[in-house]
C-alpha cells in the first residue's frame, strides 16, 4: 500500500445560475487502495474542517450499478480505465504528484446543478415517452408460454445492462444520447414481448431525445468506448433500422 500526494483541479459551481470555475486543491497521504470517491470523501472531510464548502458529487451504490456517479476525470468519462464507473476507479491507477482534473458531464441536456452534479432527468423523460412494454399488472401469461431463444434473450440483456449514467452523452462531442436511447430500443425489440409497440416506441423516444436538446449521432463511437457497461454500437445501428422501418410502416407520422 503506497501513499500519494496529489494536485486536484475541481470544477466548482454553486448552483445552476453560477458561472463556475476551477479550484485547485492539494491533498496528501492518499492510499492507493482508496477509490476515487473515497479520495473525494477525504478531501471533503478536510474542507469541512477548514470551514469551506465540500465538493458535491453524485454517488450511491458505489459498486458500479446504480449509475449515480459520473465524473469527467482527466479528460475521460469515468476516468482513464475502460468499462468501469467512477466509483470503481481506484487510486492505484494514478501516480504520485499527478494532477487530476475533475469536471462535470458537459451537455446542454445535462445542466450542472452544483460542482460535479448534473441534472440527468432528461433520461427519465425519454423512458417515460416510450421506453417500456405497455402491460398492466396482472393478466400476464405464464412466463414459459413464449419460449425465447437463449441467444436473443442474452442479446436483449446485453443492451438492458445500461445503467443510465450518461457517460455516453458526456464523452460524445455532439452530446448525443443515441447509445442510451438505442440500448433501450434494442433491449425491448430483441424480445418478442417488445415487438408490438416497436414503431411507436422508437418515434416517441427519439422525439423526446431531440426535445431534450441532445445532439445527433455522427458515429464517432466515443460513447460505446466509454460506456461502463460496454454497450455496443450495434444497438445504434439497430435503432436506425427500427426508425427506418417505422417511418415506412407507421401511418400519420
Amino acid at each position: 500500500m503506497a501513499e500519494l500526494n496529489l494536485h486536484l483541479k475541481v470544477w466548482r459551481q454553486k448552483n445552476k445560475e453560477d458561472k463556475g470555475r476551477f479550484v485547485d486543491y492539494d491533498i496528501q497521504g492518499i492510499s492507493t487502495e482508496m477509490s476515487i470517491l473515497e479520495m473525494l470523501d477525504v478531501l471533503n472531510e478536510k474542507l469541512i474542517k477548514e470551514g469551506t464548502d465540500p465538493v458535491a458529487f453524485e454517488h450511491d451504490c458505489r459498486e458500479g450499478v446504480c449509475g449515480c456517479c459520473g465524473i469527467f476525470i482527466n479528460g475521460r468519462a469515468h476516468g482513464p480505465l475502460k468499462r468501469i464507473t467512477t466509483c470503481q476507479l481506484y487510486m492505484r491507477h494514478f501516480k504520485d504528484g499527478e494532477t487530476i482534473v475533475l469536471e462535470p458531464w458537459r451537455a446542454k441536456g445535462f445542466p450542472v446543478l452544483k460542482d460535479l452534479m448534473v441534472d440527468r432527468s432528461a433520461f427519465d423523460r425519454i423512458i417515460a415517452a416510450g421506453g417500456f412494454i405497455a402491460v398492466n399488472t396482472g393478466g400476464a401469461p405464464d412466463a414459459n408460454a413464449v419460449p425465447i431463444p437463449k441467444h436473443n434473450s442474452e442479446k436483449a440483456l446485453d443492451a438492458a445492462e445500461c445503467i443510465g449514467c450518461g457517460a455516453c452523452v458526456a464523452a460524445c462531442k455532439n452530446a448525443s444520447a443515441m447509445l442510451f436511447v438505442s440500448a433501450k430500443v434494442a433491449h425491448l425489440v430483441r424480445l418478442p414481448q417488445g415487438k408490438p409497440e416497436r414503431e411507436k416506441r422508437v418515434f416517441a423516444m427519439l422525439n423526446q431525445m431531440e426535445k431534450e436538446g441532445f445532439g445527433s449521432c455522427t458515429n464517432t463511437e466515443a460513447c460505446s468506448a466509454e460506456c461502463p457497461k460496454g454497450i455496443s454500437m450495434d444497438v445504434i445501428a439497430e435503432l436506425r433500422r427500427e426508425y427506418f422501418r417505422a417511418s415506412l410502416k407507421q401511418e400519420n407520422n
Binding site: N15, S31, E33, V146, P149, E161
Partner: protein, 637 residues
C-alpha cells in the same frame, strides 16, 4: 395498544383468496379521486406506484436519488425465488412457504409467508411480460439456479444483475404511468416527516434536495417503501444514501417498529482496507460452493498465504460442521469468521479477514471452469483489491447486508397508523429472524404488484373523502418541526464531520450489536450510542445553508435518526433473550456453541412503541402461532 395482525380465518391455502374476496372495492370511476403517496421507487415502491396508477388512482412517487431507477434494489445480484417448479424437482407453494418459515428461524407469520409463496409465480410472469431478460436454456424456457436454504432449484436470475433487471422492469412500468400523467414523480426529495391528521396518515413533509425548500404533500393514503436500515452500521453493502428516516419518522408518529434487532450480516464481502472505507462490496454467496475458508492455526503466523503449509491451516467451517462445511447458512459462517478474528487469527494487513481459497477448486476443476463460473466476481475482486484470486486466496469479511426488522404491519401491510402502509425491506413482515437468499426481491415485488392494490382499496373504500389541504395545522406544525431541526443542525457548527460521527456509531453497532451479542455489551452499547448522540448534537459541523444542494446536511439528518434507531436495536437485542437467525445472544447457545432458540418465551414479534424523546420505548408482543410448521432446532453439523 393491542396488536391485531388481521390474519384472515380459514385454511392456510385459502386465506389470501378469501381475504381478496372480502376486501371492499373502490368503484372504478371513483379511483381517480383518491390520491396515494408512494415514498420509494425500489422494487416495492415502483411496482406499487405502477400498479396503483394503472388501476386509476392518482399517485405521487418520491425518491431521494436523481432518478427512480437508482433505488438500491438495483444492486441485487443473485436472483429471485418463485415456486414455479419449472425444474420438476418437487417445488411447490407449500415448500417455498416451508423453507422461508424455517429459514427465518420460526419468527415470521405463517399466513404472510404463505401468501408470499403463493403470489411468487405471478411475479415471474409479470416481469417476463415487461421484458425482463431472465436467463434461459437453449430450448428457450427459463433457467433456474439453486440458492442457500433450499433443496430445489427455484431462483430466477439475469446474470449477476437480477435486481437491476427487475427494477428496470418496474421502473419502466412506472415511467409509463408518469408519461400518461397518472403518476407525478418527485426525485431528489428527502422525506422528513409523515403527517397524521385525525389519527390517519395524510401526507408527508420533505426537503427538496436542490432548493432546500420544505414542502408538504397531502393524500388519502401513504405508502412507505424506503428500504432497509443496514447503514446504521456505517459500513454495509447498502448504498450510501440508504436510510431509516422515513420509517423512523413514522415510528415517532405512532407506527410500531418490529424486531429492529433482526439484522443480517453477510459472510462474503470484500474486507475493509483502511479507515477511509466508505462501503463494502458483496461477493456472491455462490463462491462458497467452491472456495474453502481458512485461517492460519497460529495467530502469530504472518507468512503469505501460499507459504503456509496445509497442516498449519485451520479450515474452521469444515472442521466444525463436517456435513455442511463451507456451505453453512450466512449467520453461522459470519459468526465463525468473527470468532477466528477475535482469536487473533485474522489475515491481511488489517487482520480483519479470513481466506476464501480456490486453489483446490482450480486444481480439481481446472482454471477454465472457475473462470466460467466466477470470472466476473474474480475480476471485480481484483479491481478493488489489486490481488489476483486465481493465484492468492481471496480475503473476505462479513458485513451488514439486510434488515429483517422494520415497521410493524398487519396482514394488509398497514402499519399501526391507519392509512400508512409499509412495503418491501422497510416492513418486517416475511423473513422472521433471517432472510433466505433471493427472497427479498420476491417480497418487494409481491408487496408492490400483488398485495397492496387489493388491501389499499379496502382501506380507501371505507374512507370518507374530505377536502384536506397542506394548509392544515398538522402540516404546518410538521413543516416547522423539520425546519427547526435543520436550523438546529446548521447552527451547531462544532468540530466533527457527520461521517466521523457515523463511523463512531458504526463501530459501536458492529462491536456490540453485530454478529454476536451479550447483555453486558448491549447495555454498554446503549450508553455509548447515547453519548455519541449527545456528541452529535453538540459537535457536528455542517458547512453551507439549507437553501442549496447540501450533501452534508442530508447525511446529518439521516445520521441523527440512525443514532436514535441504533439504541432501539440494542434495546430490542437485549430484550430478546434467545438466539435466533441473525440474532445471536451469547447467553443462549447450545453446548456446541450454536444458536439456541427459546420458543417458550420468545416466539413473538417484538413491536416497539415510541413514547417521547428520551423516554424508554414500550414493548408490545405479537405472539406467533405455528399451526402448520413445527418449529425445530437448526443443526448443520
Amino acid at each position: 395498544m393491542k396488536l391485531d395482525s388481521k390474519i384472515p380465518a380459514g385454511n392456510l391455502a385459502e386465506k389470501w383468496s378469501n381475504q381478496k374476496f372480502n376486501y371492499k372495492l373502490v368503484n372504478p370511476a371513483n379511483k381517480r379521486k383518491y390520491e396515494i403517496i408512494v415514498v420509494g421507487t425500489g422494487l416495492a415502491g415502483a411496482s406499487a406506484a405502477a400498479s396503483l396508477a394503472e388501476l386509476g388512482y392518482k399517485v405521487k412517487a418520491f425518491c431521494y436519488q436523481d432518478s427512480p431507477r437508482r433505488a438500491h434494489s438495483i444492486a441485487a445480484q443473485g436472483g429471485i425465488n418463485a415456486s414455479k417448479n419449472y425444474q420438476n424437482d418437487g417445488d411447490s407453494v407449500y415448500r417455498l412457504f416451508y423453507d422461508t418459515v424455517k429459514g427465518g428461524d420460526y419468527r415470521s407469520r405463517e399466513a404472510n409467508v404463505y401468501r408470499l409463496a403463493e403470489v411468487s409465480s405471478n411475479i415471474i410472469d409479470q416481469c417476463v411480460a415487461q421484458g425482463v431478460p431472465f436467463a434461459r436454456e437453449y430450448g428457450g424456457l427459463l433457467d433456474n439456479r439453486s440458492f442457500g436454504g433450499a433443496q430445489v432449484s427455484r431462483t430466477f436470475y439475469a446474470r449477476g444483475e437480477t435486481g437491476q433487471q427487475l427494477l428496470l422492469g418496474a421502473y419502466s412500468a412506472m415511467m409509463r404511468q408518469v408519461g400518461m400523467g397518472n403518476i407525478e414523480l418527485f426525485t431528489r426529495s428527502d422525506i422528513q416527516d409523515i403527517v397524521v391528521v385525525d389519527g390517519r396518515a395524510r401526507g408527508i413533509v420533505l426537503r427538496n434536495m436542490v432548493s432546500g425548500q420544505i414542502q408538504s404533500y397531502v393524500a388519502d393514503a401513504v405508502i412507505l417503501a424506503t428500504g432497509g436500515y443496514g447503514n446504521v452500521f456505517y459500513l454495509s453493502t447498502n448504498a450510501k444514501g440508504c436510510n431509516a428516516t422515513a420509517i423512523w419518522r413514522a415510528h415517532k408518529k405512532g407506527a410500531l417498529f418490529a424486531n429492529p434487532c433482526f439484522t443480517q450480516i453477510h459472510p462474503t464481502c470484500i474486507p475493509v482496507s483502511g479507515s477511509y472505507q466508505s462501503k463494502l462490496t458483496l461477493m456472491s454467496e455462490s463462491l462458497r460452493n467452491d472456495g474453502r475458508i481458512w485461517v492460519p492455526k497460529d495467530p502469530k503466523d504472518k507468512r503469505a498465504p501460499n507459504e503456509i503449509p496445509e497442516f498449519e491451516r485451520d479450515y474452521f467451517l469444515e472442521r466444525k460442521y463436517p456435513s455442511f462445511g463451507n456451505l453453512v447458512p450466512r449467520d453461522v459462517a459470519s459468526r465463525n469468521a468473527k470468532e477466528m478474528i477475535d482469536d487473533g487469527k485474522g489475515v491481511g494487513l488489517t487482520g480483519k479477514a479470513v481466506y476464501l481459497d480456490f486453489a483446490e477448486a482450480i486444481q480439481r476443476l481446472g482454471k477454465d471452469t472457475i473462470i466460467e463460473k466466477y470470472g466476473n466476481l474474480f475480476e471485480m475482486y481484483e479491481q478493488i483489491t489489486n490481488e489476483d484470486p486465481y493465484k492468492v486466496p481471496m480475503r473476505i469479511y462479513p458485513a451488514s447486508h439486510y434488515t429483517m426488522g422494520g415497521l410493524w404491519v398487519d396482514y394488509n401491510l398497514m402499519t399501526t397508523i391507519p392509512g400508512l402502509f409499509a412495503l418491501g425491506e422497510c416492513n418486517f413482515s416475511d423473513h422472521g429472524a433471517n432472510r433466505l437468499g433471493a427472497s427479498a426481491l420476491m417480497q418487494g415485488l409481491a408487496d408492490g404488484y400483488f398485495i397492496i392494490s387489493y388491501s389499499i382499496s379496502d382501506y380507501l373504500a371505507q374512507l370518507k373523502k374530505d377536502k384536506l389541504t397542506t394548509d392544515a395545522p398538522e402540516f404546518k406544525n410538521s413543516e416547522k418541526e423539520v425546519d427547526n431541526k435543520i436550523k438546529r443542525l446548521l447552527n451547531i457548527n462544532g468540530s466533527k464531520t457527520v461521517d466521523e460521527l457515523h463511523r463512531e456509531l458504526g463501530i459501536v453497532m458492529w462491536d456490540y450489536v453485530g454478529m454476536s451479542r451479550n447483555a453486558e455489551g448491549l447495555n454498554k452499547a446503549k450508553k455509548m450510542i447515547k453519548d455519541i448522540r449527545d456528541d452529535f448534537w453538540k459537535n457536528v459541523k455542517i458547512i453551507g445553508t439549507n437553501e442549496e444542494i447540501n450533501q452534508s446536511l442530508e447525511k446529518a439528518a439521516r445520521v441523527a435518526d440512525f443514532l436514535e434507531l441504533g439504541e432501539l436495536i440494542a434495546e430490542d437485542a437485549l430484550q430478546r433473550n434467545e438466539s435466533c437467525g441473525g440474532h445471536f445472544r451469547e447467553e443462549s447457545q447450545t453446548e456446541e456453541n450454536e444458536a439456541k432458540r427459546d420458543d417458550e418465551n420468545c416466539s413473538h414479534v417484538a413491536a416497539w412503541e415510541y413514547s417521547g424523546a428520551d423516554k424508554p420505548e414500550v414493548l408490545h408482543k405479537e405472539q406467533l402461532q405455528f399451526e402448520f410448521v413445527k418449529p425445530s432446532q437448526r443443526s448443520y453439523k
